[in-house]
């Protein structure tokens, strides 16, 4: 971030009327993203926002950058094409739990494992909003919706666990209500080269209100938000009375006083092996009870777009730039007089 910002938030706003329901968490995320981009020294025309289908996927229409509102679930693939075709661009993917984990799950995991230079923001509201309230792949077991009147029997995905399982090189989680933390996470993802996934717990106040109450309610949030920070011991609670230990069984919450401060796990987001980050992601299966927020993993892996450019440079160095006249003769020729 620079001190003398070239842009203001309004440079990133469009004249399109924003059409989310009043009170929707999407508004705060949009504002956070626009404010964040205004702080960057990146040309506005170098940003591309790509979305699929869903409430959150209207996002590109509201960003005064290049943008594509595409096909349900396919944004990671389409964005992969953009980022691979031109690695100079900053490509953002806007997706939701239905778009990114249900119909588009395949593209998401492949974009992550290839380490395409994408900033993927997953708006997780644990519900299908645009189609008016059906359970989603992150809805909790037992959730009653119009398509699950007796309660959902689907076991949900934990998006962070899924991303870590795909060996994503950057994985983080935040919550829409916390604008500063959201911007901090956006900034870290932007600075990271390669594929990043930021899960944002986003409140759908119409079809799934208060889904994140454990993490937002004044009375419960301090004892449920586990802030994880690189290089710091993981403790939480109003007086940091709780902590996380990691052992052969995985990660679990303990009382610091009982476990001893020196046994509290010190978070290492840069650990090459994603196993401990995965263990941390299993501390909760969703936003229920103590739940980690922050950067789970942030490692350097060469990005796909640059690797591909390197291969082209290598091929040109070895064979010289392509010549059509040579190519069509490459299988042998003969002359007819």
């Amino acid at each position: 971030m620079t001190d003398t910002a070239r842009y203001t938030r309004s440079d990133f706003q469009t004249d399109q009327e924003v059409r989310w329901c009043p009170g929707c968490g999407d508004y705060t995320i949009l504002a956070a993203v626009q404010s964040f981009l205004a702080t960057l020294d990146v040309d506005r025309e170098k940003h591309v926002f790509v979305s699929g289908i869903g409430c959150s996927s209207r996002f590109p229409y509201y960003m005064n950058t290049y943008g594509l509102h595409t096909v349900h679930g396919r944004a990671p693939a389409i964005a992969t094409g953009i980022a691979t075709a031109n690695p100079e661009l900053t490509v953002w993917v806007i997706t939701g739990d239905g778009d990114g984990l249900s119909i588009g799950g395949n593209h998401l995991i492949h974009a992550l494992r290839r380490n395409v230079n994408l900033n993927i923001i997953m708006f997780n509201n644990q519900i299908y909003g645009l189609t008016k309230g059906q359970y989603s792949p992150t809805s909790e077991v037992g959730k009653r919706t119009k398509t699950s009147p007796m309660g959902s029997i689907d076991r949900p995905f934990n998006p962070v666990s899924l991303a870590l399982g795909s060996e994503a090189s950057f994985v983080a989680r935040t919550i829409d209500m916390d604008r500063n933390h959201t911007i901090e996470m956006l900034d870290a993802m932007f600075k990271h080269e390669g594929a990043g996934l930021l899960e944002i717990y986003q409140n759908c106040n119409v079809f799934n209100d208060k889904a994140f109450l454990d993490l937002t309610d004044k009375n419960s949030r301090d004892s449920n938000r586990i802030w994880i920070r690189d290089g710091e011991p993981i403790t939480f609670g109003a007086d940091n009375e709780y902590g996380v230990v990691v052992d052969g069984e995985g990660a679990r919450v303990v009382e610091v006083a009982k476990a001893g401060h020196r046994n509290i796990h010190v978070h290492d987001a840069g650990a090459p092996n994603p196993a401990i980050a995965f263990a941390l992601s299993r501390l909760s299966y969703g936003p229920y009870g103590p739940t980690p927020l922050g950067i789970f993993r942030n490692v350097d892996v060469p990005s796909y777009g640059h690797e591909m450019e390197n291969q082209i440079a290598e091929a040109q160095a070895a064979k010289g730039p392509g010549e059509m006249a040579k190519l069509i003769r490459s299988r042998g020729t003969w002359i007819v007089d």
């Binding site: 399109q16 005064n64 943008g67 693939a77 992969t80 953009i82 593209h107 392509g322 069509i328 299988r331």
Partner: protein, 623 residues
Amino acid sequence: MSDETLTDERPVPEQIDDVVIRFAGDSGDGMQLAGTQFTASSAMFGNDLATLPNFPAEIRAPQGTIGGVSSFQVHIADWDILTPGDSPDCLVAMNPAALKANLSDLVKGGLLIVNTDAFDERNLAKAGYDTNPLDNDALDAYQVLGAPMEMLTKEAVKDSGVKGRATLRSKNFFALGLMSWIYTRPIEPVLDWVDKKFGTDTPVGKANVMALKAGYNYGITTEAFHHTYTIQPAPLPAGEYTNVVGNTATAWGLIAGAEQAKLPLFIGSYPITPATTILEELARNKNFGVKSFQAEDEIAGIGTALGAAFAGRLAITTTSGPGLALKSETLSLAMIMELPMVVVDVQRGGPSTGLPTKVEQSDLLFAMYGRHGESPLPIISTSTPSDAFEVAFEAVRIAVTYMTPVILMTDGYIATSSEPWRLPDVSALPDISRPFASIQDGEEFLPYVRDPETLARPWAIPGQAGMEHRLGGLEKDATTGNVSYDPDNHESMLHTRARKIEALGKSLPEVEIFGEGSDLVVLGWGSTYGAIRTAVTRVQKTGRKVAHVHLRYINPLPSNLGAVLSSFDNVLVPEINLGQLSRIVRAEYLIDTHSFNRVLGQPMRAREIETKIYELLDQEVSS
């Protein structure tokens, strides 16, 4: 066998105009290689030729069974030929299954070369023979020449360094050597190839050379093989030639298109038979700046292509029928976003997995109509393997000029077969580039304001300042491209997108009529070109009047097509499907057609079309 040069004590060979030869054996017998090398020698020798490989769908079907038979047919001639031939004049059968699977195609009296070593009880049983056809009168209708190829190959390569069962791998070179003798082919091109591929000093290289020469010399020393043949070079137009396979020509045409459009090429594709080798050929040519992306699925193939198109690259995706179905949704998005892209559909037998390695003109109606909503796209097709170069180039031109996805249709036959191609002067290829959008200072960028002639919208790409815009699947306002739910705007946009295809039609060449008269015209598209042209020419030579019209452009159809077809009493439409072009023509022009449909997983045969032509002409006379 020592490696002194072969002394050609050849009796005077019989001169023939053309011959169709089929090499057939187990998938593991190397028949594709033998056929390809025989073809290369014939090309070097100056013959015209056309080839037809035929693979089993299973990579490793049980050895020795009918299901595992692989074959390669080549037609060589001293005249300008258009097809790989209806039926072989000569069949090389490396085992009983190959004999059983192919014998019914061999012309009566044809030459049958058999690897007698493979005709043991086990192989006979696997092929379903109760008795050995070599020992009874089953093959009396043919000229049978047997050779114990396995024994002779083993003996020939014993000093090569290759040991044990591996020695038998060279038996295809033995067969190739023997065939080179019988048909007076030079073996030097094969020796060069072996040298390049394996090196003549390696055990495998040595074994192949030894087996090749042993086969050739077996012909010299065995009296039964002393009736040999020769086919003079064909009077092809002067120039430099290469023998090109259809998928390679397609890939090269796409690269040439990208070069002349001044756009880096991006291909996003998922492997699928028989399209995969286009992706492979493009991946091999990264020094042209080609970015080849092997996607996680067909949808991501076209998805990445769409993204690359938005980013200002020449976007390609390649597929076959099942993959085209998966791409359909994104193709509609590319259509409404009006982004340039070439979708190559190498058609194969359908529906579903169908006959994945076989040819069929299966997807014409799908290409025309297989999208949701009103979603018209240009469709263009290739007629021969070398034609694919020009057609691929043309597909790129249309995509970039009109800002639209284009469907380029080839098929499994064009994909894998080859023919001599007179190399074009690539430096004379036209410039087909179209500048990216530009605006004056302070001017508002309007992504949907069109070129009055082509109706193409401007192409502004990320990185260009001042032209930031959003594209989406929602209906767009006719100028700003912003989301619009206005009903009149929607209807008008549907018409505008349809008119864009009409605008393209106005710029396309009219169809040419080959032949004269008004009784009968044969209308075709795609790879049936050679068979139809051959059949029509044969009939014309008898003095009867029949014409041929071939379509390269299928959407939009050439502007004079309706008038041309109406000027004939009968329109015959041969297709390797159940009448898809027929339906389109009937719907478009309200004229009747005679559909002639053969859907056997094989290219259509000239003879069948010829018979049908006579049937219609004779009806005309008697009515």
